[in-house]
C-alpha cells in the first residue's frame, strides 16, 4: 500500500511545475500546457483521497471526472481564442496581448 503522503508530494511537485510553466512560458500554448499540469495535480489529489478516505470514494471520482471534462472544454475554448489572437497579431507571444480590441 502506497503511503498517502507520497502521492500528495508527487501532486505538489506537479503543481509547482505547472505554476513554473505558466509563469515562464511566453508562448500561449505553453501556458495552456502549464494549466493542464496544474489540473492533473489537483486530479491526483482527488483520486488519492478517494482511495484512502472511506467516505469520499464516490465523491472523489465524480469530482475527478468533472475536472477532466472541464479541462478538455477549457482547452478547446482557449485554443479558439489563441487562434483568433494569432490571426490578428501573427504571433502567440502573450506579452503582445496588451489590448482588448487588437
Amino acid at each position: 500500500m502506497i503511503p498517502l503522503s507520497y502521492i500528495l508530494i508527487l501532486s505538489a511537485f506537479l503543481f509547482a511545475c505547472g505554476v513554473l510553466c505558466i509563469a515562464t512560458k511566453r508562448n500561449a500554448i505553453g501556458i495552456l500546457m502549464g494549466v493542464e499540469l496544474v489540473l492533473n495535480a489537483a486530479n491526483i489529489n482527488f483520486v488519492a483521497f478517494a482511495r484512502y478516505v472511506p467516505g469520499f470514494q464516490m465523491d472523489g471520482q465524480v469530482f475527478a471526472v468533472m475536472v477532466i471534462v472541464l479541462a478538455a472544454a477549457e482547452a478547446a475554448v482557449a485554443l479558439a481564442i489563441i487562434l483568433n489572437f494569432y490571426n490578428n497579431r501573427n504571433t502567440v507571444d502573450v506579452d503582445e496581448a496588451t489590448q482588448l480590441r487588437g
Binding site: M1, I2, L4, S5, Y6, L8, I9, L10, S11, A12, F13, L14, F15, A16, C17, L20, A23, T24, K25, R26, N27, I29, G30, M33, L37, N40, N43, I44, V47, A50, R51, V53, Q57, M58, D59, Q61, V62, A64, V65, M66, I68, V69, L70, A71, A72, A75, A76, V77, L79, A80, I81, L83, N84, Y86, N87, N88, R89, N90, T91, G102
Partner: protein, 182 residues
C-alpha cells in the same frame, strides 16, 4: 519494498522527469511530447491506485483529445520550424522562487496529512457504481458538466466562425492583418 511501492517510484520518477521536461524545453512540440508522457504516467498512477475508470478516461480524454488539440494548436500557430521565444533570466528566477515556495508549502501540508492514520479502505467503486451514481445521487454535477460542454461547443464554434470571416474579409480587401474588423 512492496511491488506497489516499487511501481509507484517508477511512475513518479517518469511523471516528475517529464513534467520538468515540459517546463524547460524550448519548442512547443517538445513540450507536447513531454506532456504526453506526463499524462500517460498519471493515467497509470490512477490504475495503480485502483481507479480504473478514471485511468481509462484520462487516457481517452487527455491523451486522445486534449493533447491532440494542443499539438494542432502548436502546428497552426508556429511561425516556422523550431521557433522559440526568449525568456529572460529574471523571469526564471522569480517563477522558480514562487514555484519553490508553493512546493514547500504543499509538501509540508502533505506530510502533515500523511501523519494521520489512513485506513486501508476497500478499492474505490468501478465504472458500474459510478454510472449509477451519476444518474441518481450525483445528478447535479453530471447535468452541470453536460450543459457546460454544450455551451463550450457553441462558443468554440462561434469563435472559429468569426475568425474565418475576418480572415476572408482581410484577404478580399487586402487590408493589413491587424487593422481589419469585419
Amino acid at each position: 519494498m512492496t511491488l506497489d511501492l516499487a511501481l509507484f517510484v517508477v511512475l513518479a520518477s517518469v511523471i516528475a522527469a517529464s513534467a520538468i521536461g515540459v517546463v524547460v524545453s524550448h519548442t512547443i512540440v517538445r513540450s507536447a511530447v513531454f506532456l504526453l508522457f506526463t499524462l500517460i504516467g498519471v493515467a497509470f498512477l490512477y490504475f495503480l491506485i485502483g481507479a480504473e475508470f478514471l485511468g481509462a478516461a484520462q487516457l481517452i480524454v487527455y491523451v486522445g483529445g486534449t493533447l491532440v488539440l494542443l499539438v494542432f494548436g502548436g502546428m497552426l500557430t508556429s511561425g516556422g520550424p523550431f521557433q522559440t521565444l526568449k525568456v529572460r533570466r529574471l523571469e526564471w528566477l522569480f517563477g522558480g522562487l514562487v514555484a519553490l515556495a508553493i512546493f514547500a508549502a504543499l509538501a509540508q501540508v502533505s506530510l502533515a496529512l500523511g501523519q494521520r492514520p489512513t485506513t486501508d479502505a476497500p478499492l474505490p467503486p468501478g465504472a458500474g457504481p459510478l454510472g449509477v451514481a451519476f444518474l441518481t445521487s450525483h445528478l447535479l454535477p453530471f447535468e452541470i458538466v453536460s450543459v457546460h460542454l454544450l455551451v463550450v461547443l457553441v462558443g468554440a464554434a462561434y469563435l472559429a466562425r468569426t475568425r474565418k470571416r475576418a480572415a476572408l474579409g482581410s484577404e478580399d480587401s487586402a487590408s493589413p492583418p491587424n487593422g481589419g474588423t469585419p
